[in-house]
Amino acid sequence: MNQLRCERDGCSRMAFFRSHTCLEHSQDSTAAATAAIDFLLQQSELRDLCFDGLCMSGLQLSGRTFERCSLRHCAIERCELSRVKFNLCFLEFARISSCSFAHSDIRRSVFGVSRLSSNDFSDCELIECNFNGVSCTDTCFDDSDLLSSRFIAADLSRVGFRNCNVREVHFGNTSLASCDFRYSNIEDAYRQIPGRRL
């Protein structure tokens, strides 16, 4: 992972893609963001890059491979991310809406405390992913393998988990409203609140 830090005094954030500062402290943040989006569109494999705070809307990013990338605090809207590969990527505090991640392979990635709305994660491999503290509405995880992922202290509303593998998935302190677990192996998931049933 790129460990360069923002050069601005008192700022501890990571330096943005091809920059010495974070996006907020960039002299021309619009140009920096445009360069990052151009790079994202051109490259099929992205490794050890920092795109923190980037706003992405309507991008076609299907089939990309993201490895050890940081997308913290990003706003990702109406993007096509089907068949992407994420490994050890960090998307915490992101706002992700109306995106398709269908048929993706996402491993050991962190979505913690993000806001997810109207996304499609159907038929995905979501192995050891961290969704702790997310606010997730109208999202579909149907037919996905969620092995060892965690949704601790999450707020899930109208979320579909039909025909999923939820073995060793943690739903402790999770608010579940109108969530559908039909045909999933819920007996293999962890539910830490006594009396609460999935």
Binding site: S12, V113, G172
Partner: protein, 193 residues
């Protein structure tokens, strides 16, 4: 330096391989097992395993040590004096070790176990069993648990929010996510970090 995650099929725990260092060597953390996958990872990247770090000397984290020592003359760094009759470099609270140009800092977790440490390496925290995403490990008593929560929270607050936490169990997490969402460690219910 890259972190490679290896899931141990026997115990379901995570081991971490770090490398290459400035001298081309690698460090392994909590080798609950050591199999061909890790060996190929080391050899294919032309690394040499120079050190084994142990967060807690329980079988989940050390069962691969004997195999490793048959292949590599790796130094063992642990919060104890010996493992399987191999001498260890003892590491305690707030210690710092320089290994092949890599700075390794420790944070002891005496409320979790007398022999439990966390390693801070290159901006990543290797938390062992003591802390994993959204959870802390079980303690002997409610008092010990309260102390452990306080020790962990104090340790996390001192770190940059984007510090990645790699634990023995489950997915990775970050300091910011733990302080904002963990039922045990969070600062405020709606903390914005």
């Amino acid at each position: 330096m890259t972190v490679y995650v290896h899931s141990n099929p026997v115990f379901g725990t995570n081991s971490y391989l770090l490398g290459p260092t400035a001298t081309g060597s690698a460090i392994i953390i909590d080798p609950g097992s050591f199999d061909g996958t890790i060996l190929h990872r080391i050899e294919d990247n032309q690394m040499h395993l120079s050190a084994i770090l142990v967060t807690k000397p329980s079988s989940f984290h050390i069962s691969g040590i004997k195999t490793i020592r048959r292949i590599y003359d790796a130094q063992i760094i642990a919060p104890c004096r010996s493992l399987f009759s191999y001498p260890c470099t003892f590491i305690g609270d707030n210690s710092t070790v320089e290994l092949d140009g890599v700075r390794i800092e420790t944070i002891a977790m005496p409320d979790h176990s007398r022999e439990s440490v966390l390693y801070l390496i290159n901006g990543a925290l290797f938390s062992g069993e003591a802390l994993s995403a959204g959870m802390i490990d079980v303690s002997a008593s409610a008092y010990a648990r309260a102390l452990l929560i306080e020790t962990i929270r104090t340790s996390l607050v001192a770190l940059p929010p984007d510090t990645v936490i790699f634990s023995s169990f489950g997915p990775p997490t970050t300091v910011a996510v733990e302080l904002a969402s963990s039922p045990d460690c969070r600062l405020q219910p709606d903390a914005e970090l």
